[in-house]
Every structure is written in C-alpha cells, then in structure tokens.
Symmetry: C2
Subunit: 313 residues, 2 copies
Amino acid sequence: MILTVTLNAALDLTYRLPDLRPHASNRVRSVSRQAGGKGINVARVLAALGHVATVTGLVGGATGRSVRAELAEAGLPDELIAVAGETRRTVAVADDRDTTVLLEPGPEISPPEWQRFLGHYQHLLPGASVVVLSGSLPPGLPVDAYRRLVERARAHGVPAVLDADGPALLHALPARPAVVKPNAHELTAATGSKDPAEGARRLRAAGAEAVIASLGPDGLLALTPEGRWRVRPPGVVPGNPTGAGDSVVAALALGLAGGLPWPERLRRAVALSAATVLAPQAGRFDAEAHHRLLTQVRVEEFDRTYPQGEPCP
Amino acid sequence: MILTVTLNAALDLTYRLPDLRPHASNRVRSVSRQAGGKGINVARVLAALGHVATVTGLVGGATGRSVRAELAEAGLPDELIAVAGETRRTVAVADDRDTTVLLEPGPEISPPEWQRFLGHYQHLLPGASVVVLSGSLPPGLPVDAYRRLVERARAHGVPAVLDADGPALLHALPARPAVVKPNAHELTAATGSKDPAEGARRLRAAGAEAVIASLGPDGLLALTPEGRWRVRPPGVVPGNPTGAGDSVVAALALGLAGGLPWPERLRRAVALSAATVLAPQAGRFDAEAHHRLLTQVRVEEFDRTYPQGEPCP
C-alpha cells in the first residue's frame, strides 16, 4: 500500500463565472468542490491508475468534514486525524480568460495533535510500501516535521517521496528521503542556484537519495543513485499544468513501490504529467494520451561536466 | 417577538490580504466568517439593540451547519429548516484598497421542502409581533414566495416588513406588506422610474402600505399611510455602507412592533443606518454615534407636487 500524507489538507472550490471584476460584486455561475492538498491529489491520481492508496494527515471543522465526505465518495481510504482547527479552503475563480486563486491559511495545529498524528502514522507504516509526503505545513507544526516523518518511515524500511519546498524541504534532507521532487522555482529558492542541475546536486549532497526536478514544459531532470537523466515530453504539450507535479509524484511513488529501473520510472512520470496537462479538468489525466505518450517520452543520460575537484553527484 | 425570515441564508466569509492580484495565486492573510443572508443580519442588529429576534428560513449541508453553529454562538434563536442542498457562501475579498465580492448561487429548494417551511412558518406566526422578510429567493422557490408569506402573516394579524427586489418584490405587493424597503437602484429596476418619489408611489399603488426608499447618503424617502417624509443624516457620513440597509429594516421592524409614530421610526432608522456606516466592521453599528445621531437626523414633510388628475400617494 502507498501511504500519502497531507498535513495541510484543503477543500478545493472552483468558482466559474464569465468575467471576474475586481472590486465589484460577482455572481458565481457554478461551484464545484473536491478534497485537496497535494497528498490527497496524489492519492486521487494513484486511484485512477488502479492503485488504492491510503490517505492520512490532519483535518478539522466543518470544512474537514466536507473533505472526508468527498474522500468517501471518491473511494479513497481515509486514515486522517481530526484536529480542533478548521481545515483551509482554496478558491480557484475561473473566468473565461484565466484563474485567480485564493489560498486560506491552514489551521493551527497544537503539539498534542501533532503527537497524536505521529502515533497514528507509526501505526500505519508497517502496512506501507512507500510513503508520499506532500505539500505545505500548517501553522503550529515544527519546521522539521517532514524530517521526523522520513526518519520514522526509514526505521520501518519504508522509502519516502517528499514534495515540499523551502525550510520544510531543507530540514528533511538529513533524514535521507528516497526521492525529493522540487520544481525549478522551488529548487532555486531552496538552494540559491538558478541552474537546476547544480541545485539538484546540492539537495543530493544535503541528503536526498534522488532529486527529480520538474522543469515544466522541459520535463524532468533526475539525479539518482543509478544515474542522471533528462526526460522530455515529445513536444509542446498545450493545456492546464495544475496537478502535473502531483502526477509526477504519483508515478515516482508507483515506480518506487514496483522496483522499476529509474529510466522507466521517469518515462512514466513524464508521460503521466503530460497527460495531466492535456486533460481539460485540472488534476485529471487523459488516459489515452497517457498510453500514447509512454512510447514517445525521450529519456537521455545527462552528462553535465562538473568542475575539476568537485565530486559527481 | 420579531421573526426574521432568510430563505437564502449564507455563510459570509471575509478574506483579508494586502493586494488582490487577479489571475494569480493569492495567499489570504486572515479569514473571518459569520452567518449571513439579510434576515439573519437584521436579527443580529436587533440583538445588538436588545431585542432577541427569532431566525427562520432554509439551510443545508456542511455550510448550513456552520451557519447554525455561528447563530448559536451569537445567541440568536434558531428556527431554521434543514434542506438537502448546500447553503451558499459569500466571499468578500478585502484588500487595502477595496472589496471584491463573490456570491455563490443558493441551493435548489424542492417543493416538499418549501411546503415543510410554510408549515413551520405558520406554526411560528402566532408568537410574532412583526415578520421581516429579507433577501433573495434561492432556486426552486416560486417567484411569489414572499406573497404567500405576507398573506399568511396577515391572516395571523402580523405585519410584514419586506426587503426584496425584482420579481420577488413585485409579486408580493398584492398581499399588502406593511412596509417595503427598496434602495434607489431596486426602485428603478422594479418600477422603471428614475424618480424615487414616483417609483415609491407606484409600489404603494401596487399594494405596499408604506414604501421606505433608502437613498444611500441622502437618507430615506417615506410614503406611508400617515404622511410623506424625507429623512436625512446630519451631514456626510464616511465609512462602509455594507449592512446599512439591514439596519434600516431592523429599526423599521422595531418601530412597527412598538407602534411608534412614523416620523420617529424614520428618525431611528436613519440614525441606526448612519451609525452602521460609521462602524469600522461591516454590518455592526457604532452605539455611541447612534445615540448622538438620534437628535441630529432631520425629518421633513415631503411635499412633491403631483400632476393634476393623479391621486396623491
């Protein structure tokens, strides 16, 4: 079983209207809602690929109850822990031109709630083949929360895929997560380097076993214990990139669980990511395009020359 | 007891952030929420004036439960009826310059739910001295819903204050509501006349016993069975006009319940409305300013000359 952890779950609302007028009153034409937060999104992608992942993390309040109701409807096993605060909502206001996103802050988590979560997580780990740690930390959690989760997973022999950024990412590296997946922006913010290869090298040096950097339309850059690759979609992929990163994480987790060779994991990750961009609905993927893309993704060994005296990653 | 009816209740969320950037991702700094819908807002104003009004209407889903929890916290007696649909939210995105409002559509109400509400309403009427009917109709309700509520109130000898617009207002007039309170824009939309006095006259001719038109900074224009008045605040009132209309309705309902002479009701309505504009928080009023304004509001007999052959209102 793949276990996905969402510490800052959300109820994702999409408001559709013809034209958002700032500083005026806008009637929303339709509202759709679904459980969100990156770990839950990854679980949804895994379910669509036929793998029923277990969802854990923290939820609270009326919005938390809505998240759980939506998970039940989607058939995703719910091992979330209830907290006193109110789960955040995100509102994506989609008009005919573009989308404006409003992100509520997450609920304040108390130390006893965090301890209760750790106990529950420890209890779930023996059943897990891979653990996915995704998304931001809500207020109140220690900044090294992910480090503790990676350490506990490692103690049970369970590899961790970590999709986080900033201090939450950096503090977790010494615990040696199996995979970290920053995007180009997160990589620069975390390492100070504008060169993704150099940034990825620094994250490996700090402890990550593999660094898979998602570079948007340019695909993935991978530094792994087996080698280094650039993996690209067959051409320009038009569409909506929302959720493409969660699809990469889902594919990497499945590849890790299945023990696939790295080039094959990466090929699948890029195919699934591109199929997600192609799907009209944010966060879904086009199953037909996914199958077609699997044969079209280009996987190339990556041969950056390193400065003399500097160890290769 | 004053009974307030909110057929399209809401959970009103306020998102604060420094600067709303359309078509980008915005982190909300703080979220506040309160039960809303005009009838509930009127009940909140009445409670602040020391009159505990009863709240009835329709709520549903997780958002409906949040509305009820907030009413309980505010100490407002809850006689709402549960429906299957999800109560709407409104989101006011307040940045340092201005406010952008997003209004979700209300839930679809089924005919049996409407019948159940009518039964409950009928059961509440014998305890009511005045009924306040405020706000929009959710989808699924008959367009003459307010007419039926005014008729039933009248059958119990209970006068109705109606704050609605468009067809919901026009269809209710033949049932002879005691007071209707359109604003200038609603008056023009309902009657086609840009002259508030003429528009008010037309609403009286169609059945309203008194028409109190709220004209923003210009105060009120009142056509009543006792006479016609223009009632103005003492000068320019700076502030936030959100909720000023609900304060007018609350004061008119109290004046009706107390049997005050019309000029006194109007004086109080304008004082409370101006004190609401002055309060920093939307929908609250400045109690000190309210007391001061009571002696400063100007009430003048209104002496529009009517064209020959046309009856005076």
